[in-house]
């Protein structure tokens, strides 16, 4: 089918939804939103799927501003991959919203939400399809402001206002950086459309390119949650309504990644001096900082937000590795790293959306987000618990779910640093790899905590005791996402080729044959590989189960062209089969062995206590406190003070422990910047004496300065 038609239908339908949304009552709004947004998402899925799988591209113009510019669009496989994921996130979130938004009528206007929700969807699609600077920036700004309004949806809460404003400030600053970057590029290219920017980027000097590269990285990094410009992210994610948090994490975070890929990786290809390493290091530092704060956080949504920073860091680490490999001409490795990066992005969108929906459901039913106050809700919300568990296992990168596959690929591509020459870059790779490994370990801790402290044990508050299972319309989308997590976990060999088509233009080479070689399809006489090579693989057992197993199942990483290929292989597809067989075997054996035995349930052993009180069980804070102690150099609590109220000299009535931690980014980056601003402002203020003569002197001095400067330029 022609995608241009779909493209038009999508916009017309969305515009219709926005207009209709304006006139609907709050009571009908949630269902309407679920209905229209789902159709929009399905349309987008169709559109981007067509493009992604068939390779159809689309170019065109929206509008021509005669004197200024052309607003144009272009759909290639990269943008359709992003659109596909966006739609995949929007579809379940929209259905979920039908149930979730029920908590708002009467307090907040749902019409606003509905309109903004659709507007955001449209603006995201516009960003992803923009083919020129003006369209891109305009839709970016629409997206930023809509996001701000949605984060601040519960507008009467102090905390939300603060986090919304912080978000707006930072994203506008990022916007400014991106705009300046575009101006630098446009100056060199003399045009505003992306194609000519790409073609003419070499004309600029190295310094200009570097400056614009960094400006773009920072500008897009704001949305992607890159350290050090992510201070807004945990606050905003926590303030936003949960269904919108899912969108923020699953769709708009990707826009930052998209920007970095589209502009930094594609348009600025000619910058070749260590830019990849910058992205690599920034990514791995973000990953570590993100997960450290996620582990120690007890607010579920904040924890997920910090974890988004971590995942964004992992994505960018892969991207950075890809850039380094591309700069040094290792196109195959670059392709693998890009695939790892984008695969992880896909996965992150899926599981993080799932987790945010789960967190939203828990918040809805227990009215608390603090994991310290939850506990024991698995029995009350079994399906939510199950889906949350799937999300947690996925994000903790445990097989057979999807996080494992992408993290495996990311690690493998980092390990390929041996192919590089430069020692400092190798060191950077090694350090990033180490940081990523630490991150992966902490991620497991974090999500063991998240699941066990919320769902297992005893309820630690009355709120948690009151929890009930979510309605079907909220469980369904979570189940859908959980299923996608499983599918993308066990069928990587079918997803990698799709992602490869999107990344191939970036890495200048398709790596499907290197990553998921079609051993089963190929006869030994294939021309792609030498006979020895294939027989090597066969010796390694690649053809095991050739006759019984359907299709591809092996992800390998090899350097097919070299004499001694370094081979790493893994197969979640087969692992899951083996896993199911093993569990089945154990289950059957256990059943046979205990067939004749009576099962008695004895009391839980708690040391002979009369009653194990809820406050005697581990809390999320308690569980993660060892991490806090070990990494105290990073957390560096500014205040830890025990205030003791006492009855008399030695009797304590209460110990109030205050702990104030300022996020490392705030401490090392935001605060100094603010301080510098304040100092400058104070200095400037001291110029204002109120005397007219002095002001006249300022005028003269500035005139002279301008003249002098003008003389030199």
């Amino acid at each position: 089918m022609d995608i241009s038609l779909l493209f038009e239908v999508f916009f017309i339908f969305s515009a219709g939804s926005i207009v209709m949304g304006l006139f609907l009552s709050d009571r009908r709004s949630p269902v309407f939103l679920a209905f229209t947004a789902s159709i929009s998402s399905i349309l987008l899925l169709w559109l981007s799927g067509e493009s992604l799988f068939t390779g159809q591209t689309l170019h065109g113009e929206f509008y021509r501003i005669s004197s200024l510019s052309v607003l144009s669009y272009s759909i290639d496989r990269l943008s359709s991959l992003f659109m596909f994921i966006t739609a995949l996130v929007y579809l379940p979130v929209s259905i979920y919203s039908a149930g979730y938004l029920k908590k708002y009528p009467g307090r907040y206007r749902l019409t606003t939400f509905s309109v903004l929700y659709h507007l955001l969807f449209v603006s995201i699609v516009l960003i992803l399809t923009a083919a020129d600077v003006v369209t891109f920036l305009l839709s970016w700004e629409v997206m930023s402001i809509t996001c701000y309004l949605l984060v601040n949806y519960e507008y009467d809460k102090e905390e939300n206002i603060r986090s919304g404003l912080l978000m707006l400030t930072m994203s506008e600053a990022g916007f400014l950086a991106v705009t300046v970057g575009f101006l630098i590029l446009a100056k060199g290219a003399g045009s505003l459309d992306f194609a000519s920017l790409r073609l003419n980027s070499q004309k600029l000097g190295d310094t200009s390119l570097w400056v614009s590269f960094m400006l773009f990285l920072i500008g897009f990094g704001v949305k992607a949650g890159l350290v050090p410009v992510n201070a807004w992210l945990p606050r905003a994610y926590a303030s936003a309504p949960s269904n919108f948090s899912a969108i923020l994490s699953g769709a708009t975070l990707n826009l930052g990644i998209y920007g970095i890929i589209r502009i930094n990786a594609e348009i600025l290809q000619s910058v070749t001096h260590g830019t990849g390493v910058v992205v690599l290091v920034a990514g791995s530092v973000s990953a570590l900082v993100g997960i450290l704060y996620a582990v120690t956080e007890d607010d579920m949504k904040r924890m997920l937000a910090h974890s988004s920073i971590e995942n964004s860091g992992i994505i960018l680490t892969g991207l950075g590795a890809g850039l380094v490999f591309r700069e040094t001409g290792h196109y195959v490795l670059a392709g693998i790293a890009f695939i790892a990066s984008l695969y992880h992005m896909v996965n992150h969108s899926l599981f993080k959306t799932l987790l945010f929906l789960g967190a939203g459901g828990i918040e809805l039913k227990t009215t608390t987000r603090s994991m310290n106050r939850l506990g024991g809700i698995f029995k009350l919300m079994p399906w939510t618990g199950l889906f949350f568990l799937v999300g947690a296992i996925s994000i903790a990168a445990l097989p057979p779910f999807n996080g494992f596959v992408s993290e495996w690929l990311s690690f493998q591509s980092l390990l390929q640093a041996s192919a590089l020459r430069s020692v400092p870059v190798k060191v950077a790779f090694a350090l990033s790899g180490a940081m990523l490994a630490l991150t992966a370990g902490l991620a497991v801790t974090c999500f063991v905590k998240a699941f066990s402290m919320s769902f297992l044990g005893i309820a630690r508050s009355e709120d948690a005791r009151r929890a009930v299972e979510l309605p079907f319309r909220m469980k369904l989308p979570m189940g859908f996402l959980a299923l996608l997590c499983l599918i993308s976990g066990i069928l990587p060999t079918y997803i990698i080729p799709v992602i490869d088509t999107a990344t191939a233009p970036l890495s200048h080479q398709s790596v499907v044959d290197e990553l998921v070689p079609p051993f089963f399809q190929l006869s030994d006489g294939s021309t792609k590989f030498s006979k020895e090579f294939i027989s090597d693989f066969h010796d390694l057992g690649a053809q095991v189960g050739k006759d019984i197993l359907p299709g591809r199942g092996l992800v390998v990483l090899h350097r097919g062209t070299e004499k001694n290929p370094v081979v790493y292989a893994m197969s979640t597809s087969y692992t899951i089969v083996v896993l199911i067989l093993l569990i089945g075997a154990v289950y059957i054996t256990a059943n046979i062995l205990t067939r004749k035995r009576k099962v008695t349930i004895r009391t839980c052993w708690n040391g002979g206590l009369r009653q194990l009180l809820p406050e005697m069980t581990y809390t999320a804070t308690g569980f993660s406190n060892p991490v806090r102690v070990i990494f105290s150099a990073i957390f560096r609590p500014s205040i830890v003070r025990d205030t003791r109220t006492i009855f008399s000299s030695r009797f304590r009535a209460a110990i109030m422990r205050e702990r104030k931690e300022i996020h490392i980014v705030d401490r090392l980056f935001i605060q100094p910047v603010l301080k510098a601003f304040r100092t400058t402002a104070r200095l400037a203020a001291s110029m204002h004496t109120g005397s007219v003569n002095i002001y006249a002197m300022y005028v003269i001095i500035s005139l002279v300065l301008v003249l002098i400067v003008g003389e030199f330029i």
């Binding site: 007890d298 603090s370 310290n372 708690n606 040391g607 002979g608 206590l609 009369r610 009653q611 194990l612 009180l613 406050e615 005697m616 069980t617 581990y618 809390t619 999320a620 804070t621 308690g622 569980f623 993660s624 406190n625 060892p626 806090r628 102690v629 025990d642 009855f647 008399s648 000299s649 030695r650 009797f651 304590r652 009535a653 209460a654 110990i655 109030m656 422990r657 205050e658 702990r659």
Partner: protein, 534 residues
């Protein structure tokens, strides 16, 4: 006679000073033969008296004795002076239907647990005490029933609250995410029953709340109405690991009531076994410390030495834990000269190996890492909590009842009181070792000058009266108060044990340290819960 006049002079000076310090509301009397200075005062004057005694005269708290008679309550606050070696007894009376006394625990913090215990067992209200209730008697015990009251019949199990009793521990740590780590009452491998709640936010223990008296056997109550010959069995069996010390303290009290002078030989052999028990007890503590740090070989070595000491006890005293040896009036078994030298020789052998173990431990850095700077109690805290025994001596409170209130026989022995100032686990370990060495030294001194007298003087009948017997038990100072009625039966038996005193201060050591240090701190205290719970 010279000694006695000296004591008389000291007592007289002290009483003059007390009279001078306090107003006329008190009556001061002295009993030189019992090294005792008694102060009678009314309830209102009590805070002033206690404050002056502790802060101006510098007395240490020994024990608090509550007695109920037909018409009045009598509380005796017993203090002692380690400088001039005398006891000071503050007596306060209240009518029987007004069981209310001012709380002294803010002045003498060591009284905290004593008052809580008395509140539970007698139903006395201590006005101003911030935390009363839920101490000796747990949640299933009905309110308002106080087992130590005279009217309470102890013979049969008492009916409990019918409904499922709820128990809510008092939490004081206020921080989001703070929780309590419950330990016990049945925990780890072979441990005594006690319950510890560690308030924490993870990793560090912010506050530790011990909950004791799971092992409360009502020893003080069931002793009432029994003949001293029976009570001595209780005295040695309520805390089996320091049986000899406690039966000795009881015998001291009873003998003092009966006015019996125990023969010199009995006194000396009592010292011999008391020190031998200390020796064995400290080896056992060392074993527990090695065990808690996971140093298996050292723990095994100490266990070997402990077993050898136990076998020695059995061989020479007839019982592995020295039960049945002490009886009022002397000892039930004599030692021949060969026995004495044999015992000493073989104890020396154990001592040598213990010394080797000590040296090896001092050079095991991984072992010391777990002990050093862990479970610290500073000197000031130790004084305020009135800590006793090796725990106090490791915290710089160089207080030993054998020196402070020299009881029978110890006046003539030369020994030093090992003292450390760090107050950490390692300091306590060193004190244990050095005290074990000192004990063997005392044993050899005693055996050298063993006299040829009978070992036992029978006590025909017990006159009415009361007395305090004290002893430096292996874990610290123990005070046994006995009152005998006209029938020659014990009607009040009050036990203040070193474990009870020191567990009170245990939370000081446990707070501020990590979870994994907790068992080690527990072991370095070397305390017995049986001795505390009674």
């Amino acid at each position: 006679m010279v000694v006695e006049t000296e004591i008389y002079k000291k007592l007289h000076d002290l009483s003059e000073r007390i009279r001078h310090l306090l107003t006329n509301s008190v009556t001061v009397s002295i009993e030189p033969e019992n090294l005792l200075c008694s102060i009678e005062c009314n309830v209102d004057a009590l805070p002033v008296v206690c404050k002056q005694l502790v802060s101006r005269i510098g007395l240490s708290f020994a024990t608090m004795i509550v007695e109920e008679s037909n018409e009045e309550w009598l509380i005796q606050y017993v203090f002692y002076s380690s400088r001039i070696h005398i006891l000071v007894n503050v007596m306060v009376r209240q009518e029987i239907d007004n069981p209310s006394f001012p709380s002294m625990s803010s002045i003498v913090h060591a009284l905290d647990w004593q008052e809580r215990e008395a509140e539970d067992l007698f139903g006395i209200v201590f006005e101003g005490h911030p935390v009363l209730g839920d101490f000796v008697l747990h949640e299933e015990w009905p309110e308002g029933v106080n087992p130590m009251r005279r009217t309470f019949r102890p013979e049969m199990p008492y009916p409990h609250k019918e409904t499922r009793p709820e128990w809510q521990p008092r939490r004081i740590l206020q921080e989001p995410g703070a929780f309590m780590m419950p330990i016990g009452p049945i925990f780890s491998g072979i441990s005594e029953s006690a319950h510890f709640l560690l308030e924490t936010v993870g990793e560090d223990v912010v506050r530790s709340i011990p909950r004791f008296f799971y092992k409360y056997r009502g020893v003080e109550k069931i002793a009432e109405g029994k003949h001293p010959m029976e009570v001595v069995l209780l005295a040695e069996r309520f805390a089996g690991t320091s049986a000899f010390a406690h039966s000795l303290a009881f015998c001291h009290a009873v003998e003092s009531i009966a006015g019996v002078e125990v023969p010199e030989r009995a006194v000396q052999i009592r010292i011999l076994f008391a020190e031998f028990e200390r020796f064995r007890h400290h080896i056992s503590c060392i074993e527990a410390i090695c065990n808690s740090t996971g140093l298996a070989v050292a723990a095994s070595q100490a266990a070997i030495l402990e077993e050898e000491a136990l076998r020695l006890s059995c061989e020479f005293a007839g019982h592995r834990y020295l039960f049945g040896l002490n009886i009022p009036g002397g000892l039930s078994k004599d030692l021949s000269k060969e026995d004495c030298t044999g015992l000493l020789k073989r104890t020396d052998n154990i001592l040598k190996r213990l010394d080797r173990l000590y040296k090896m431990l001092q050079y095991s850095s991984s072992f010391l890492d777990r002990l050093e700077e862990v479970g610290i109690i500073c000197t000031e805290d130790a004084i305020d909590y009135g800590l006793v025994g090796p725990v106090a001596r490791a915290s710089g409170v160089c207080n030993d009842i054998r020196k402070a209130l020299p009881y029978k026989g110890y006046e003539n022995v030369e020994f030093s009181v090992p003292c450390e100032t760090e107050g950490d686990g390692y300091a306590r370990l060193r004190v244990f070792f050095q005290e074990a060495f000192q004990s063997v030294m005392i044993m050899s001194q005693t055996i050298e000058r063993l006299s040829d007298e009978p070992i036992y003087i029978p006590i025909k009948d017990y006159p009415e009266g009361s007395a305090i017997g004290w002893v430096e038990a292996p874990a610290g100072a123990a005070f046994h108060y006995v009152r005998i009625d006209s029938r020659g039966r014990v009607i009040r038996y009050r036990l203040t044990t070193p474990s009870f005193t020191n567990w009170h201060g245990f939370h000081l050591a446990a707070e501020g340290f990590a979870f994994q240090d907790f068992p080690i701190i527990l072991a370095t205290f070397g305390l017995s819960i049986a001795e505390s719970d009674r």
